[in-house]
C-alpha cells in the first residue's frame, strides 16, 4: 500500500488538534479513516502494532517446501510464545507473525471458563487474517431482543443500516448469489464463485427434502471475482490469511487505508499503544488519547475534536475501563455500568461430514477461498421448542487429497500413484450459532496483572449457556440429516463446541440501545455520556445474530463516521 514515509514518520507537533483520532487500523478503523478523510476531516490513526508492507510481509505464495516444518508449524515456539493464538487455524507456520505474542499480551479467565482471545496487532489488524464471509443482518435479528425480552432492544432496524450495507459492499467487492431470503438479505454482489459438483447436488437435494425451507448458497465473500476499484481478481492460490499481493480480498491495508491516504488527510502512527482516553471534565468531552510508544515506551498525548475507538470489542472496552476519572470511576462512558458486559461470540465446532459416491471423473480446480453457506432455518418462520434464535452452516465439498494416505493401509508404487489421484468426495458442514447477550458474560480489569507496557489487562468471564448448547445439539443432528438427504455415506458428527473466543466474533461489550441507563452507545455508535466519543467496532452489538459480523461492523463504522461529521458541522460535537 502507499502510505508514504512522509506520513508515517513525520508526526505533526503534539499540540495539533486533529478532527478525529481513530484507535485501531483494522476492519472498523479503516472504514472510519476512509469515510472521515473523504468527508474532509484530518485524521490520526493510532495502531498498537507495527507497519505492514505487503510486498515484504505478505506470504501467500510460500510453498510448503520452503517451510521448515512443511506447514505443520513451528509448534514448540508457538507453544512457548503463542499458546492461545496457536489455537486459531490461521496462526500457521507462515501466518503466525500476524498474531500477537501471548506472553507480551496476557489476560486471565475465570476458573473453568476458558476463553481464547485471538488478536492481531499490526497495521491492518485482523482484517489481514479474517475469513472474509459477509452476510447482512435483518429485522429477524434487530427485532429479536425486543421480541423475546433478551438484552436491550436495538435502537435501529434493518432499514437504518441497509443503505450503509450497500455503501460498504460496493467498495469492498463481495462475490455472492442473490437468493431472495428476507432474513439473510441480498446485497451488492460481484459474480458468485462456482459450487462444486457435489455442493450443487446437495443444494438441490436439501431444497427438495425440506420443502424449500432450507437454502444452501455459495458463500458471500469479500474476495474479488473480477477486477474491482484498482484491485485484481482472485487467482485462487488459497491461503488468504497470509496476505494478498494482488489485493484480491478486502482488508483495511488492501483498500480502505490507501483510500484514506489518497485524500492527503490521513496520519498513521504504528507502534502506538493506547492505554486510555483523556477526559476533559471542564468541557465534558474526550480531549484525546494517551499513547505509549510500543518500542520506546515513551508516553505521548494526542488531541482531537472526536475520538473513535475501533480497537476490537475487547480492546476498546479495556481502554474505556482503564480511563478512570472522578466523573467516571468505573470507566469512561460507563454511567450505565454495562461497559464490558454482555460479551458474545458465535458457537463453533459442531457439524457433520460425509463421503459422496459419484462424480469420479470430476474435481475442483483452483483453491477457492470460500465455501458454501446454509442460511438459518430455525426460528425463522416456525418456533423451535428447544432454543431461541438460530444458526447457519459453512462448509465445502472437495475431493480428498494425499493426506488420506495417513490413515489408509498400503505402501509402494500402487499406493503412491493412488495418492497422486484425487480421493473420494468429502463434504463437511459446521454450524455457527447465535449467542444470547447475558450480563454474566463480561470483562473487567484484572486487579493485578499488567501487559508489557504496564497497562492493566482484562479478566474475561464467558461461557456458553444452555440455549447455545441446545442449539448446537440440533445443529449436529440437522447437519447429518441434510448430508444424508443429499446421499452422503459414512456420516460422522462433530459435537464438541469450541470455547468462546475462538470463533473470533467477540462482541457486545459496549452495546447500543435506546436508554442511557442500560446501554453505552446510542443508535449512532456515539457514547451517551461523551458526545464526541464513538465506538465503531464489535463492542456496539446488542445481539450477535448468527451471521459473520465484520460486514455489519463496517456498515456501522461508515454510518457513524458520516453522523459524526454532520454533528460536527451542526456544532453538536
Amino acid at each position: 500500500m502507499n502510505i508514504s514515509r512522509r506520513h508515517l514518520f513525520h508526526i505533526r507537533p503534539r499540540r495539533q488538534e486533529y478532527d478525529a483520532i481513530i484507535v485501531g487500523s483494522g476492519m472498523s478503523g479503516g472504514w472510519a479513516a476512509k469515510e472521515l478523510t473523504e468527508l474532509g476531516a484530518n485524521v490520526l490513526v493510532l495502531e498498537a502494532g507495527p507497519m505492514i508492507v505487503p510486498e515484504r510481509d505478505y506470504a501467500e505464495h510460500t510453498l510448503t517446501s520452503e517451510m521448515p516444518y512443511r506447514g505443520w508449524n513451528d509448534r514448540k515456539t508457538v507453544a512457548a510464545e503463542q499458546p492461545v493464538q496457536g489455537e486459531c487455524y490461521a496462526c500457521d507456520e507462515v501466518g503466525r507473525k500476524f498474531f500477537v505474542n501471548d506472553i507480551e499480551n496476557p489476560y486471565t479467565t475465570d476458573p473453568d471458563k476458558p476463553f481464547l482471545w485471538i488478536r492481531g496487532r499490526q497495521v491492518g489488524g485482523r482484517s489481514i487474517m479474517w475469513a472474509r464471509q459477509c452476510y447482512r443482518l435483518s429485522d429477524l435479528d434487530f427485532e429479536a431482543n425486543a421480541r423475546e425480552g433478551y438484552g436491550v432492544d436495538w435502537p435501529i432496524r434493518y432499514a437504518d443500516l441497509a443503505p450503509w450495507y450497500d455503501h460498504v459492499e460496493a467498495f469492498v467487492g463481495i462475490s455472492g448469489r442473490a437468493e431472495g431470503l428476507a432474513h439473510v438479505p441480498d446485497g451488492v454482489f460481484l459474480p458468485p464463485m462456482e459450487m462444486s459438483c457435489v455442493e450443487e447436488h446437495v443444494r438441490g437435494a436439501i431444497d427438495r427434502a425440506f420443502g424449500g425451507s432450507r437454502r444452501m448458497t455459495i458463500g458471500r465473500t469479500a474476495v474479488l471475482t473480477r477486477d474491482h476499484k484498482g484491485r485484481r481478481a482472485c487467482h485462487y492460490c488459497g491461503p488468504c490469511h497470509r496476505g494478498c499481493r494482488t489485493r484480491s480480498y478486502f482488508s483495511s491495508i488492501n483498500a480502505t487505508l490507501p483510500a484514506a491516504e489518497a485524500t492527503g488527510r490521513l496520519t498513521l502512527r504504528p507502534n502506538s499503544v493506547v492505554p486510555e482516553v483523556i477526559w476533559d471534565a471542564g468541557r465534558g468531552r474526550a480531549a484525546g488519547v494517551r499513547v505509549i510508544d510500543a518500542e520506546s515506551h515513551d508516553e505521548l498525548e494526542f488531541h482531537a475534536r472526536t475520538v473513535f475507538l475501533a480497537a476490537s470489542a475487547l480492546e476498546s472496552a479495556r481502554i474505556l475501563l482503564n480511563s478512570k476519572s472522578p466523573d467516571f470511576p468505573d470507566g469512561l462512558a460507563n454511567s450505565s455500568g454495562v461497559l464490558g458486559k454482555y460479551l458474545m461470540d458465535h458457537t463453533m465446532g459442531v457439524g457433520a461430514r460425509a463421503t459422496f459416491d459419484g462424480w469420479e471423473d470430476r474435481t475442483t480446480r483452483g483453491r477457492r477461498p470460500n465455501g458454501v453457506y446454509i442460511a438459518r432455518f430455525r426460528n425463522v418462520t416456525d418456533v423451535s421448542p428447544d432454543f431461541l434464535r438460530g444458526y447457519g452452516y459453512q462448509g465445502s465439498a472437495t475431493r480428498e487429497g494425499w493426506g488420506r494416505g495417513m490413515s489408509m493401509p498400503g505402501f509402494g508404487a500402487d499406493f503412491k500413484s493412488d495418492l497422486m489421484r484425487p480421493g473420494p468426495w468429502s463434504f463437511g458442514i459446521s454450524g455457527f450459532g447465535e449467542c444470547l447477550p447475558r450480563e454474566e458474560n463480561h470483562v473487567a480489569l484484572d486487579p493485578e496483572q499488567v501487559d508489557k507496557w504496564g497497562i492493566p489487562t482484562l479478566r474475561i468471564s464467558c461461557a456458553w449457556s444452555d440455549n447455545e448448547r441446545a442449539m448446537m445439539r440440533d445443529a449436529a443432528l440437522q447437519a447429518a440429516e441434510m448430508l444424508e438427504a443429499g446421499g452422503g455415506r459414512d456420516i460422522t458428527i462433530d459435537t464438541d463446541m469450541t470455547p468462546p473466543g475462538l470463533t473470533i466474533h467477540e462482541m457486545g461489550t459496549a452495546r447500543m440501545g435506546r436508554d442511557p441507563a442500560t446501554s453505552v452507545l446510542n443508535a449512532h455508535n456515539q457514547a451517551w455520556d461523551v458526545p464526541n466519543l464513538f465506538l465503531v467496532d464489535g463492542a456496539s452489538m446488542a445481539s450477535s445474530a448468527c451471521q459473520n459480523p465484520s460486514l455489519t461492523y463496517m456498515a456501522f463504522a461508515a454510518r457513524a463516521s458520516h453522523y459524526a461529521v454532520w454533528a460536527a458541522r451542526r456544532g453538536e460535537i
Binding site: G71, S196, E199, R367, G405, P409, P499
Partner: protein, 202 residues
C-alpha cells in the same frame, strides 16, 4: 521452563496469583493437540539437512530413508529418498516432536535393524526388495489392526509416524509438488472440472 511461561499467559505473569486451576490450563492448552513441550531445545531455524549431533543418527537415518523409499518408491517420478524425506524427519526429531513422542518414535526405529537381522540376516537397508516389502507389509498390517481396534491407539505405534512423516515429507517437497502437478495460481475456480490424464491415472 517453557511450560511455566505458557501458563503465565493464562494464569498471570510472575508473582500474580494463578486464577485458573492448573488442570483447567492444561485442558485449554491441550485443546487441539498437545502443544506443550516438556523441555527440548529451540527448534532449528534452517531447513537444512540432518544436523551434526542429531538424534536421528546416521544408523537411524539409514533405516528411516529405506523405510520411506519402500512406502513411496521412485517410479516414473522420484521417490521419498530423492525428495529429502529423511532430512524432514531429522528436523521433526530435533525440533518438533515432544520428548516422549520423539523417544517412542526413535525406540521404534531402533527395533527395525535387529528384527531384520533376526529374520533376514541383514540390516533393513541391505535387505532385498522382497524382504523389505515383507517387513513393511507386516508393520502396515499391524497398524491397520490397531486402527480397527476401538480399544487401541494406533497413533502410538512408531510406524504410524513413519508413514505420516514420509507422506508429508514427500508430498510437501519440491519433488512431491512437481509430481502432483501443483500450481500456485489459477485463472478461475472450476467447481466441476474434468480430471487431467495424470489425475485420472492414464
Amino acid at each position: 521452563m517453557k511450560r511455566r511461561r505458557a501458563i503465565g499467559v493464562l494464569g498471570g505473569v510472575a508473582g500474580a496469583p494463578l486464577l485458573m486451576p492448573v488442570e483447567e490450563i492444561e485442558r485449554l492448552l491441550a485443546w487441539r493437540e498437545r502443544v506443550q513441550d516438556s523441555a527440548g531445545t529451540r527448534p532449528p531455524q534452517d531447513n537444512g539437512a540432518t544436523q551434526v549431533g542429531s538424534l536421528l543418527t546416521p544408523p537411524r537415518a539409514r533405516v528411516m530413508e529405506a523405510l520411506a523409499e519402500v512406502i513411496i518408491p521412485a517410479t516414473d517420478t522420484p521417490g521419498a529418498s530423492e525428495a529429502g524425506v529423511t532430512e524432514f524427519v531429522g528436523a521433526l526429531v530435533d525440533g518438533w516432536l515432544d520428548d516422549d513422542d520423539r523417544d517412542r518414535f526413535l525406540a521404534g526405529l531402533d527395533t527395525v535393524d535387529p528384527s531384520c537381522r533376526e529374520r533376514f540376516g541383514r540390516p533393513f537397508a541391505e535387505c532385498a526388495q522382497g524382504e523389505q516389502a515383507a517387513f513393511v507389509h507386516d508393520l502396515d498390517d499391524e497398524l491397520t489392526r490397531l486402527r480397527d481396534d476401538p480399544a487401541a491407539d494406533e497413533t502410538r505405534h512408531f510406524f504410524h509416524d513413519v508413514k505420516r512423516f514420509t507422506l508429508t515429507g514427500y508430498f510437501t517437497s519440491d519433488v512431491g509438488l512437481d509430481a502432483l502437478g501443483y500450481r500456485t495460481t489459477f485463472r478461475t475456480f472450476e467447481g466441476c472440472a474434468p480430471l487431467t490424464p495424470a489425475e485420472a491415472g492414464r
